[in-house]
Symmetry: C2
Subunit: 141 residues, 2 copies
DNA sequence: GTAGGAGCTAGACCGCGCTCTAGGTCAAGT
DNA sequence: ACTTGACCTAGAGCGCGGTCTAGCTCCTAC
């Protein structure tokens, strides 16, 4: 019962089987994947946990290259925890910066949405405010 | 004094001159850029405002293709404000979703950082918790 | 008059992160 | 026997968002 096929792992993680093989080739797996006698991959639950971690890294913008570096540290075993910590902290900062940036963008977008909403609601959509020269602050089209 | 060269716009927006020409080719500029008699581009402050808006769109993950669609709506002039509003709202949702996702990632990363921090602080970095089989919840390396 | 620097166009190229293809093995079902 | 389907490897291809090159025209300063 223990031991998952690549298809099962794909289903569980949301990664494609292609992506799973690709990640393995790229050295993103902490433990070498076991194989059945016929060469098929056998994944453990730990592999799935690790992949889910990688997915969190990826979807927060960590490049594959950095994930690989982290993976290598882990593979080397105990003794480099400070390095891992540094890498993680640096990514943490990066994610925070991203969130901040996105919030700024969201403010601008929301400001624009509100303006459009007002005009659409008021049925004044066809007024002159669209033309740059008549605007007060900026090209707000 | 009014009228900016491509280099000045690059400096002001942070985009490269290459990127500015590329954006223009891709149809991301609301107004056609004026040219001097010798063919050089002359940008207005409104162009810069528009570009800064595009930059906000881009850095919040809007694809160039969508920016182009928005630009086309604006170029068509008054009458399609509801369409523009829909596009903006949809992007607004997308940005909110991104922020949420990043916050989730940040939680996971922070959890990991804290664990490492504790162990590094305690000087117990070399203990067994690194090995998957000894862990309680997941492969937390 | 000539060297530098900024600009122009058209189009090739690049890095990233997958994704897909070709050509094959293997095991189970009918 | 044969089809189906999941898996394998090696390697090509792709979409996106730029970036860079080649070869040119200007203008300015020396």
């Amino acid at each position: 019962m223990d031991g998952l096929s690549i298809g099962q792992v794909a289903e569980r993680t949301g990664l494609s089987v292609h992506a799973l093989r690709f990640y393995e080739r790229e050295g993103l797996l902490a433990d070498a994947v076991r194989r059945e006698s016929n060469g098929r991959r056998v994944y453990t639950e730990d592999d799935v946990d690790w992949l889910n971690m990688c997915i969190k890294f990826r979807s927060s913008g960590m490049p594959l290259d950095t994930i690989r570096k982290y993976t290598e540290l882990v593979r080397k075993g105990a003794g480099n925890e400070a390095d891992r910590l540094a890498l993680l902290k640096s990514h943490q900062d990066y994610v925070r910066a991203q969130i901040e940036e996105l919030n700024e963008c969201l403010n601008v977008i929301t400001w624009k949405v509100d303006i459009y909403q007002q005009h659409v609601d008021a049925g004044t959509a066809d007024c002159l405010w669209v033309a740059p020269s008549t605007q007060t602050a900026s090209e707000a089209s």
